[in-house]
């Protein structure tokens, strides 16, 4: 069975925080704002730890890309039961422009380096909502992918993955090594217990630079502008269908 699982964990602005756009419209305010682990990444960590508890996997390695602060996120994964962590150091402008393509290149390189046979990621991050990293990582490694997983079962050297799709649930069987992305109903993540928080302190986090992995961080995307969603405008009430048609014609909609 899979000896080593790589789990990607992203540090994002906490889901409960009210997001504010920076006055210069280059991005959102992150200074002094509460951050936590992306909720879908929590689900990914939980799934990996459960596989380890079922003895289907030997080691769970938590990976995060970013500046010094992401170590907190890695430690949270360790407190949930991951065995060790890898901090890929990315900071400054590189971090601002870090996106799914670069991260998937990093994860692919790490998967080869660590000889991982399973990568579990959250289906998407709640800040950029890209929903791309898992798919790109699988493509770069030429591995099968089971995305939007609501159930994962090991069957010999294959994985049975039940995926949440628009039409309902789709069951697929994929060979290992593979990439799985976690959807909401895959599991309910555990709370870090006090003894595990204590143990997490002793677990190792190794630092790695993207250059060491042969990854070029140059972004092919440039953010031009960030704006708040438009304020919801009041609607107009009409008395008859004729009025409605008239108003729609006026607005050039029909």
């Amino acid at each position: 069975m899979a000896a080593r699982v790589l789990v990607g964990v992203k540090r994002v602005i906490d889901y409960a925080v009210k997001i504010r756009v920076k006055p210069d419209n280059t991005g959102v305010v992150t200074d002094g704002v509460k951050h936590s682990m992306n909720p879908f990444c929590e689900i990914a960590v939980e799934e990996a730890v459960r596989l380890k508890e079922k003895k289907l996997v030997k080691e769970v390695v938590a990976v995060s890309c970013g500046p010094q602060q992401v170590q907190e996120t890695i430690r949270t994964a360790l407190a949930m039961g991951a065995d060790r962590g890898i901090h890929v150091e990315v900071s400054g402008k590189d971090y601002d422009s870090l996106g799914p393509l670069q991260v998937s290149k990093i994860l692919a390189a790490l998967a080869k380096k660590e000889e991982a046979s399973l990568i579990i990621l959250g289906k998407q991050a709640i800040d950029d909502d890209c929903n791309q990293t898992g798919q790109m990582t699988a493509a770069l490694l030429d591995w099968p992918q089971g995305t939007f997983a609501s159930e994962v079962a090991v069957e010999g050297d294959k994985l049975k993955v039940i995926r949440e799709v628009d039409g309902g649930l789709e069951t697929i069987k994929i060979n290992l090594p593979a990439v799985v992305t976690a959807d909401l109903r895959l599991n309910t993540p555990r709370y870090a217990t006090l003894p595990n928080i204590m143990k997490a302190k002793k677990k190792k986090i190794t630092n790695v630079k993207p250059g060491d992995l042969g990854v070029d961080l140059t972004s092919r995307l440039e953010v031009l502008r960030v704006d708040e969603p438009p304020q919801r405008q009041a609607g107009v009430k009409v008395e008859t269908v004729e009025d409605l048609v008239g108003k729609l014609k006026e607005a050039g909609r029909i």
Partner: protein
């Protein structure tokens, strides 16, 4: 903070040594371990306690499921060493845990506090190895909780006047009397019971006993119908020729008063933490409302009358919190902490009642109805000025310590 430290050292009579600088920075920013612990308890409180706290209060329901989950997290036995099934963390960690949990549900906070400080505390401090195995390990998982029976119908603050009697008969102790206001008692599986073994020795004739529950000769009075913390049970403990093995004596004969007072010193930090949690929840409620409620054409947060209230509430809360952390840190550093603990409990409980009172005021009519949690915080806060040492007793303890410093 530096002058606190020096005074504390002079008062304790030690040579002037500096408390590790780590302790001072901890007041400014908690170590990573404690931050993680605080976060996990806060997450649990937000997701599992706050949504059900209103219902638990309304129906007077003991949160058994939550207590078991908290046991699994290690929170029911924070200071107990890992070898006995605890989390093996320090008192600052315990204080943070109780505060965060109380912010979600004050009843759950006191259930956790009583189990940790008032039940496991004395057994850990005064128990034999055998007693620790029997009376600690099963009470760390959340499956069983303990309680502390010191007060009686005839004496609360006057703890030295314990009229519950214990006499030795062969290889048994026989206990007779009534204990009052016992938190957790309807849900507990064991009690630390204080009884007089030698009436002539007055308070030096009190001993502490470990009593399993249920047990022949031990019965419970009716559950009190309280103003607040209604999800935790409070009742009388009635002992009628209750027989327990000689080995159930905790510590030495006559040590009971000392055990009680030392236990309450620690327990004060737990209750202070509970009060902080209640105050924080009330402040959260008021500040959030102030942003949303509009009057006179703008959110009421723009009005100075509201701003001054929020400022006073925040100051009361934060100063009580720092006193509480300091008391916990002194205890962790094995320094004398009675004065600090009494100050913490006094400040935090008065902050809780002040903040929750003002929170209702900020909410106006909405603060008076059960649709908002403000009324529950107000009701929950009130007991913190009474149990585990009334505010009046805390003032006596503090005055006593202050006067000692100026001994002529």
């Amino acid at each position: 903070p530096v002058h606190f430290t020096v005074l504390g050292l002079i008062q304790s009579g030690h040579l002037v040594r500096f408390i590790k600088s780590r302790s001072l920075t901890q007041l400014a920013e908690l170590p990573e371990l404690h931050q993680m612990l605080r976060q996990t308890c806060r997450d649990y409180a937000e997701k599992e306690l706050a949504p059900v706290a209103g219902q638990l209060d309304k129906n007077h329901t003991f949160p058994a499921k939550q207590v078991r989950e908290l046991g699994a997290m290690g929170v029911m036995a924070v200071e107990v060493p890992e070898s006995l099934g605890g989390a093996g963390m320090d008192y600052l960690a315990y204080s943070l845990a109780v505060e965060e949990l109380s912010r979600g549900c004050a009843s759950t906070g006191v259930i956790v506090s009583v189990n940790n400080s008032l039940y496991l505390g004395p057994v850990l401090a005064f128990g034999t190895e055998e007693q620790k195995q029997q009376w600690i390990s099963p009470f760390t998982t959340g499956e069983k909780v303990g309680c502390f029976a010191l007060s009686e119908p005839g004496n609360g603050s006057d703890a030295g006047a314990a009229s519950t009697l214990a006499r030795q008969e062969g290889d048994e102790w026989v206990l007779n009397g009534t204990k009052a206001w016992i938190t957790n008692c309807w849900d507990a599986s064991a009690a630390v019971v204080f009884a007089t073994t030698d009436k002539s020795l007055k308070h030096k004739g009190i001993s502490a006993f470990l009593v399993p529950m249920p047990h022949p000769g031990l019965s419970l009075g009716k559950k009190e119908d309280k103003l607040g913390i209604r999800a935790s049970s409070t009742a009388n403990l009635i002992l009628e020729d209750c027989r327990i093995p000689l080995g159930n004596l905790l510590g030495q004969r006559g040590m009971g008063f000392k055990i009680g007072m030392q236990t309450l010193d620690s327990g004060r930090i737990g209750i202070a933490s509970q009060a902080l949690g209640i105050a924080q929840a009330a402040l959260d409620c008021a500040a959030d409302y102030a942003h949303k409620r509009t009057a006179f054409g703008a959110p009421i947060a723009r009005l100075q009358a509201i701003q001054f209230k929020l400022a006073d509430m925040a100051v009361a809360l934060e100063s009580a919190r720092l006193l509480t952390w300091k008391a916990a840190m002194l205890r962790d550093a094995k320094k004398p902490y009675s004065k600090a603990a009494a100050m913490a409990k006094l400040a935090a409980s008065e902050a809780a009642t002040f903040v929750s009172h003002q929170a209702i005021q900020v909410l106006g009519g909405m603060g008076y109805v059960t649709d908002m949690p403000a009324e529950r915080h107000y009701r929950d806060a009130r007991i913190t000025e009474i149990y585990e040492g009334t505010s009046e007793i805390q003032r006596l303890v503090i005055a006593n310590q202050v006067l000692k410093e100026y001994q002529q």
